[in-house]
C-alpha cells in the first residue's frame, strides 16, 4: 500500500513536470516588441557543453572530408562578407570561430553549429532572390550561436531524456489496479509529452533567432522585410516533401510570417540606398549562378526533377543567352520524363505527400516511370518533355560558346527514343568536343552497345 502511494506520488509529480512546460512556455514567450541582447553573456561552459563542442568540431571536419562542403573560394568569400557584416563589431565569443559555408545539399536548409560554423545549403541558396534574403538566413543562424541556443537545447533535452527513463522505470514496477494502468499509459505516452515540451522550447528559441535576426539585418542595412519574403519562399513546396508531423522544430511558417510581419511594423519603413542595393536580384544572381548550376546537378542526382526544372528555368530567365543554362533546362526536362512539372493542389495535401513519400521508399525511379507511362497523362508529359528537351539542346548548341554536354544530352534523348544512328553521332560529337570528359568511358560503352 505504502509502495503504491510512493509510486503514485512520483508518477503524478513527473506527469506534472512533463505536461506543465508547454503551457508555461506559452506564457514565457517573449513579447513581440522585445528582443534579448545579442550575446548570452551569462553562459558558462560546463562539461556537457565542452563534450558537445568536441563532437561538433569533428562533425565540421567530417563535412569537409566527405565532400559535402562546396569548396569554392568565391562562394566562401561571398558568404563570409555577408556574415561578417551582420556580426556586432568587435565581438569575440569563447569557443567560436566564425566560418560561413555552402553545403552541397539540394534540400533547402540552413543551420549553425555552436562552434560558429554556419552552413547554408546550395538548395536554399538557389531559391533566394537577393542578398538580403541570404542575410536574413545567416542572421537567424548567427543568433543561435551568439545566444548559445544549441548548448541550452542540449542541456534541456538531456533533462527530458532523464525524465523518460525515470518514467519507464516506474512503469515497469507499477502495481496492478487503476494506479498501475495510469502509470502504464503515462509511460507509453511519456516520450510524446516530453518531446512536446522539447518542441515548445525549441520554438521559443527559433522565434528569438527570427526577431534578433531582423534587428541584425537593420543594423547591417539589409531591408528586414526580406526575411518575411524568405519565409514565403520556404513555404513553396516544389517536391511535395514538407510533411507536417506532430513534432517540428520550427514554428509553422505561416505563424512565423505573422509574428515577423507584426514585429517589423514601422521598422521596415526606413529605407536606405544601401538597402535598395541589397535587394537587387541581378547582383545576387551574378554571385549565385555558379552555386545554382552546381546545385542543379545535385537536384538531378537526388531525383528532385521538379526542382531541377524550376531552378534551370530561373537560370534561363536570368541569362537567356547562356548556352550552359539552356542545356541545363534541357537536361531537366529530359530527366523529368513522364512526371508533371508541378504538383497539383491535391498532391500537395499532407496525406497525399505522406503517401507519395511511402511510394518513394518502395519504387525505383525506373518503376515509377513505367507506372506513369502506363497512363495517358504520363505518355503526354513524356512526349512533351522530350520535345522540349530536344528543342532546348539544339538551342543551347546554337548559342555562343555552345556547351559540349548538349551533344551528350541529345545522344541520351535519341537513345531512349530508339533513334540509334542519331544517338551515336551525338555521342561521338560530344567525345570529340570534350576529349578529357569525366564520363568518357561511359559514353564509349554506350556507343559500343548501340553499335551491336
Amino acid at each position: 500500500m505504502k509502495r503504491a502511494l510512493v509510486v503514485a506520488t512520483l508518477c503524478f509529480s513527473i506527469a506534472f513536470t512533463s505536461v506543465a512546460p508547454p503551457a508555461l512556455a506559452q506564457k514565457k514567450s517573449a513579447p513581440v516588441e522585445a528582443t534579448p541582447p545579442p550575446v548570452n553573456e551569462e553562459f558558462k561552459f560546463g562539461k556537457v557543453d565542452l563534450e558537445l563542442f568536441e563532437q561538433v568540431q569533428l562533425l565540421d571536419r567530417r563535412f569537409e572530408r566527405e565532400g559535402l562542403v562546396l569548396e569554392d573560394e568565391a562562394t566562401s568569400a561571398f558568404l563570409t562578407r555577408i556574415g561578417k557584416s551582420l556580426l556586432p563589431k568587435g565581438l569575440t565569443l569563447e569557443n567560436v570561430v566564425w566560418k560561413f559555408r555552402a553545403l552541397r545539399d539540394p534540400q533547402p536548409n540552413a543551420f549553425a553549429l555552436p562552434n560558429g560554423s554556419i552552413y547554408v545549403t546550395t538548395g536554399l541558396l538557389s531559391l533566394m532572390d537577393n542578398e538580403s534574403q541570404l542575410a536574413a538566413v545567416i542572421a537567424h543562424e548567427l543568433t543561435h550561436v551568439m545566444r548559445r541556443h544549441t548548448y541550452l537545447q542540449n542541456r534541456s533535452n538531456r533533462k527530458k531524456f532523464l525524465t523518460i527513463n525515470v518514467m519507464s522505470a516506474i512503469g515497469a514496477y507499477a502495481p496492478g489496479g487503476l494506479v498501475g494502468t495510469v502509470i502504464t499509459i503515462a509511460t507509453a505516452v511519456a516520450p510524446f509529452i516530453v518531446m512536446a515540451t522539447i518542441f515548445g522550447y525549441s520554438r521559443d528559441l527559433e522565434r528569438e533567432a527570427d526577431l534578433k535576426g531582423i534587428d541584425m539585418m537593420i543594423s547591417a542595412e539589409y531591408p528586414p522585410e526580406e526575411m518575411v519574403k524568405m519565409m514565403k519562399i520556404l513555404k513553396r513546396d516544389i517536391e511535395g516533401e514538407n510533411i507536417r508531423f506532430f513534432y517540428n522544430d520550427h514554428p509553422a511558417l505561416q505563424e512565423r510570417i505573422n509574428y515577423l510581419s507584426s514585429y517589423l511594423g514601422g521598422r521596415a519603413d526606413k529605407v536606405t540606398p544601401q538597402m535598395e542595393l541589397n535587394r537587387e536580384q541581378k547582383a545576387y544572381f551574378n554571385s549565385a549562378e555558379p552555386i545554382m548550376r552546381h546545385d542543379f546537378n545535385l537536384e538531378i542526382n537526388e531525383a528532385r526533377f521538379r526542382s531541377a526544372v524550376y531552378l534551370a528555368q530561373r537560370l534561363t530567365d536570368f541569362n537567356p543567352t547562356s548556352s550552359e543554362n539552356a542545356y541545363l533546362l534541357a537536361e531537366a526536362y529530359r530527366s523529368l520524363g513522364p512526371r508533371a512539372p508541378e504538383l497539383t493542389e491535391q498532391e500537395l495535401t499532407n496525406s497525399a505527400k505522406k503517401d507519395a513519400a511511402k511510394k518513394r521508399e518502395k519504387r525505383t525511379l525506373e518503376e515509377e516511370e513505367r507506372e506513369l507511362l502506363a497512363t495517358a497523362a504520363g505518355q503526354e508529359n513524356w512526349k512533351k518533355h522530350q520535345q522540349k528537351a530536344e528543342e532546348l539542346y539544339l538551342r543551347s548548341l546554337s548559342l555562343e560558346q555552345p556547351a559540349p554536354a548538349a551533344h551528350r544530352g541529345l545522344g541520351m534523348l535519341y537513345e531512349k527514343l530508339g533513334r540509334t544512328n542519331e544517338a551515336i553521332s551525338a555521342y561521338e560529337k560530344y567525345l570529340e568536343l570534350a576529349p578529357t570528359a569525366n564520363d568518357r568511358e561511359r559514353i564509349q560503352r554506350r556507343i559500343g552497345t548501340l553499335r551491336k
Partner: protein, 236 residues
C-alpha cells in the same frame, strides 16, 4: 529462512526462461541474410577486384540522459569495418581490394571528392528500397545505372562496395537500467551493398548484425562479416 516449494522453483525457472526470451526478443537479431544477383549466382559475373568506398557507420552512446554522439568512435569503427571486410574477402573469397583513388579527373581532387560524395548519396537513396525488399536483389531489380563509370575507378575494379551501419553502446548506468527495465542493448547493424563497377547493378546485399559494444568489437565483427559473405562465390 524462506522455504521454497517445488512449484515455486519451477515458477522461478519459467520466469527466468521468459526473461531470457524477452531479452533475446528485444536484442537486435543476428540476421546474416545474403542476397545475390542472378549474374553472380550463375557465375556470369565474378567479383575479383573491389573498391571499398568510405564506410558510413554511426554509433551513439545511450545514457540515462539520452543518446550522446560518438563522432570519433564512429570514424574509427567505419575504418575498422572497411579493413576487416577487405581482409575477410581476401582470405575467404580471394577478392582483392584495389585503391579507391582514381585516375585523376580533369578538374582534380575536389571533383573526385564530390563525385564519390554524390554516389554515396545515390546509394543512400536506393538503400531503403533494397531494405524493403531485400529478396528482389535476387531478381536483379536494383541498379545505380551506368553513371558509376563516372567514378573513373581503377580499371581492374569490377565492383564497388558501399557500407552503412548504425549502432549503440551503453553507459554503465544505462546497462543497469536496461537489465532492470528492458530496452535496447548495445548492438551494431550493417548494410553492405556490392555494385557492379560497369553496369551499376546491385550484385550483392547483406546485412550483418552483432550484439554487444560495437566500439570494441573486432573478432565478433570479423565473424559476422565472414558469415555474411558465405554465399558469395570465391574468385579463385
Amino acid at each position: 529462512m524462506r522455504i521454497t516449494s517445488k512449484s515455486d522453483k519451477s515458477f522461478r525457472m519459467a520466469l527466468t526462461a521468459l526473461f531470457a526470451l524477452v531479452v533475446a526478443a528485444m536484442s537486435p537479431l543476428a540476421v546474416r541474410a545474403q542476397f545475390l544477383h542472378p549474374k553472380v549466382t550463375s557465375k556470369q559475373v565474378t567479383i575479383r577486384n573491389i573498391v571499398i568506398l568510405p564506410a558510413k557507420v554511426q554509433v551513439v552512446r545511450d545514457s540515462m540522459k539520452g543518446p550522446e554522439g560518438m563522432a570519433a568512435e564512429s570514424e574509427e569503427l567505419s575504418s575498422r569495418v572497411e579493413k576487416i571486410l577487405a581482409e575477410v574477402l581476401a582470405s575467404q573469397k580471394h577478392v582483392a581490394t584495389v585503391s579507391g583513388s582514381v585516375a585523376p579527373s580533369s578538374d582534380g581532387a575536389t571533383d573526385q571528392k564530390y563525385s564519390v560524395a554524390d554516389f554515396q548519396s545515390k546509394f543512400d537513396l536506393l538503400l531503403p528500397k533494397i531494405m524493403k525488399k531485400r529478396g528482389d536483389v535476387k531478381q536483379g531489380r536494383f541498379s545505380m545505372g551506368d553513371e558509376v563509370l563516372n567514378l573513373n575507378l581503377d580499371k581492374t575494379a569490377d565492383a564497388i562496395v558501399f557500407i552503412r551501419g548504425q549502432g549503440q553502446a551503453l553507459t554503465s548506468g544505462k546497462k543497469a537500467f536496461t537489465l532492470l527495465v528492458g530496452g535496447k542493448w548495445a548492438y551494431l547493424k550493417l548494410q553492405i551493398g556490392i555494385v557492379d563497377a560497369h553496369s551499376g547493378e546491385v550484385l550483392l546485399y547483406t546485412d550483418p548484425a552483432l550484439d554487444g559494444d560495437p566500439t570494441t568489437a573486432v573478432d565478433r565483427l570479423r565473424s559476422a562479416l565472414e558469415k555474411s559473405f558465405k554465399k558469395l562465390p570465391a574468385a579463385g
